[in-house]
């Protein structure tokens, strides 16, 4: 589907991947409808989208409120006439030992990350089926394939979202709604404010586990996905790597992920107080795309390093075989 002139609804548009996606779609000439809890952040994103060249409408809602999500879809159609693309992106998480996270916070995560997507799909699909065309993008995560310790609710949710997409695709196929596509995006660690917003009961500060990718890169993937919809897309070589590992050596992948998270996802030296993060109250401020984890710089550095390694390897091979 052409992105230009299409109407794109993005949940979780106040920060991170959602915000980057809204901006990328606006820059490509789409009208965007922005949904998240923080009105002041959405207003700023709306201004940025208008500067980028698209029309924008900010609708402050909480995706756990099914009626509010229905109202969001109605607002989108009232203002822009249709819904071509719906991007489910609003998600929260917690780092906590299983026995220590308060049950209500565990439930809250499932509510936002699973039911929020369900509400979005139920609101968007009727319009898309009426139009005979549409793309529903569910932002999942590579942790849907290789889950992590301490983020049970989040990993469970992301697996659930992946399954939801597959179920919906099958149902739409049986109903003959050929023009309506459902896609899952599985990014690896992305440089967003997510790790500062997280609930945390581990006593250790959370950080973005390398390799870190930029949110703009995920947004580009989503824009490509709107143009040419595919079932599931992995973002970046690390995600593809992990997916392959999970299929070839699932036990090993689990063990590696466990030690990786222990070593790289939580600081050993920086303590953190117990907090429910942004689970019940949105983070203050006007939000941002990046979380200050240098996703773009890290990607560039990795590229330089791997190119150098390749060249060195090539040179070694050439010398060994006297080419």
């Amino acid at each position: 589907m052409r992105v230009r002139d299409s109407v794109v609804v993005v949940t979780g548009a106040s920060s991170g991947i959602g915000r980057a996606t809204a901006l990328a779609c606006a820059a490509a000439g789409a009208a965007v409808v922005l949904a998240a809890r923080r009105a002041e952040a959405l207003d700023e994103v709306a201004r940025e989208c208008e500067t980028a060249g698209g029309e924008a409408l900010a609708v402050p809602i909480d995706v756990t409120d099914a009626d509010a999500v229905q109202a969001l879809a109605r607002r989108a159609v009232e203002r822009f006439g249709r819904i071509d693309v719906w991007v489910n992106c609003a998600a929260v998480t917690a780092f906590a030992p299983f026995q220590e996270i308060p049950l209500e916070e565990f439930r809250r995560i499932l509510d936002v990350d699973v039911m929020g997507y369900v509400h979005g799909a139920r609101a968007a699909l009727p319009y898309m089926r009426d139009q005979g065309k549409g793309v529903l993008v569910n932002v999942s995560s590579i942790v849907a394939a290789v889950p992590q310790p301490y983020t049970h609710a989040y990993s469970m949710s992301k697996a659930a979202v992946r399954v939801l997409s597959s179920s919906l695709r099958q149902e739409l196929r049986l109903d003959g709604a050929k023009g309506v596509k459902v896609c899952t995006v599985m990014p690896p660690t992305v440089d967003t404010p997510f790790f500062d917003h997280t609930a945390n009961y581990t006593g250790r500060k959370a950080k973005a586990m390398p390799p870190v990718y930029s949110a703009e890169r995920v947004a580009r993937t989503i824009v490509d996905l709107i143009r040419v919809p595919r079932r599931e897309v992995l973002v970046g070589p690390m995600a593809r790597n992990l997916m392959l590992q999970s299929k070839l050596a699932p036990g090993l992948a689990e063990r590696m992920m466990a030690s990786q998270v222990d070593k790289m996802h939580l600081y050993r030296t920086k303590p953190a107080p117990a907090t429910s993060g942004n689970l019940f109250q949105p983070a203050p401020g006007t939000g941002s795309v990046s979380g200050g984890w240098h996703g773009r710089r890290q990607t560039a550095l990795r590229r330089v390093a791997s190119t150098a390694a390749l060249l060195a390897g090539g040179a070694a091979v050439a010398r060994r075989w006297g080419l």
Binding site: D5, A31, E55, E78, G81, R82, D130, Q131
Partner: protein, 254 residues
């Protein structure tokens, strides 16, 4: 020539179950002229006419659902569907009563409005109204369109190719079929507004006999011929067409 090679602005309106795109050009304080495009076309081929009228009118050229930059439903709309979409857009943008300039199949769409939303119609200009009731078959119409091509300016080609790509072969074919079966001659007596029928003198798609019949059937019709041009007068003779439209803006119809 910078500002004259493109439209002033593009507007989008939530109407007719989609996001209707319209291109705008001209004096914002002047009376409105709404341009309704023909089969497989869009706002684009009205640009020369809009340029010619820019001092005297605010020219607004909407794209009907499925054409140009307006997304349509997956199944093509018939003439009634298109005319209801146009009516819905006229209501949503408060443009009832504006002068309507229609070309080709757009004439069928505009005339159909007389049956369900006559109150929205302003003075009408039917440029090359289709379809000649004596030639209501696919081979005849295709033959006439091919016969018309030497009388069109070559610059129209790239414009139309772009619009055909936007609407797609399936929608074009389906709309063509609806166009052929639309009994415009039975609707013409119900058009409640002064109407100018414009015919390119070389137009094989709309022979003079048919144009005269259309004019006769209209309660308040007048025929004007533009010598030397074919079917798409708005592209090949915009200045001469503008001269026919201007009197309607001031409300003088003779």
């Amino acid at each position: 020539m910078g500002p004259l090679t493109r439209w002033d602005t593009h507007g989008f309106t939530a109407a007719a179950g989609t996001r209707v795109h319209a291109a705008l050009l001209g004096n914002a304080d002047a009376p409105t002229v709404v341009c309704v495009h023909g089969l497989g076309c869009s706002h684009r081929y009205f640009l020369p006419l809009a340029r010619a009228l820019r001092r005297d009118a605010r020219v607004v050229a909407p794209d009907l659902p499925g054409f140009g930059r307006t997304r349509g439903p997956s199944r093509a709309l018939d003439i009634r569907g298109l005319s209801q979409a146009l009516a819905d857009w006229l209501r949503a943008t408060a443009r009832a009563g504006a002068v309507v300039v229609a070309n080709s199949t757009g004439c069928q769409v505009a005339v159909d409005m007389a049956l369900h939303s006559p109150e929205l119609l302003g003075p009408l200009v039917l440029v090359g109204p289709t379809v000649d009731r004596r030639a209501r078959t696919l081979p005849q119409q295709v033959g006439r369109l091919i016969a018309d091509s030497p009388w069109e300016r070559p610059t129209l080609g790239p414009v139309l190719l772009r619009d055909w790509a936007a609407c797609g072969a399936r929608r074009y074919a389906a709309t063509f079929a609806y166009m052929l079966t639309d009994p415009i001659e039975r609707k013409l007596p119900h058009v409640p507004v002064p109407t100018v029928v414009v015919r390119g003198a070389r137009d094989p798609v709309v022979p003079r006999a048919w144009a005269e019949e259309v004019t006769r059937t209209l309660p308040d019709g007048r025929l004007a011929e533009v010598p030397g041009v074919g079917h798409t007068v708005n592209w090949s003779a915009p200045e001469r067409l503008a001269r026919l439209v201007r009197p309607l803006l001031a409300g003088e119809h003779t």
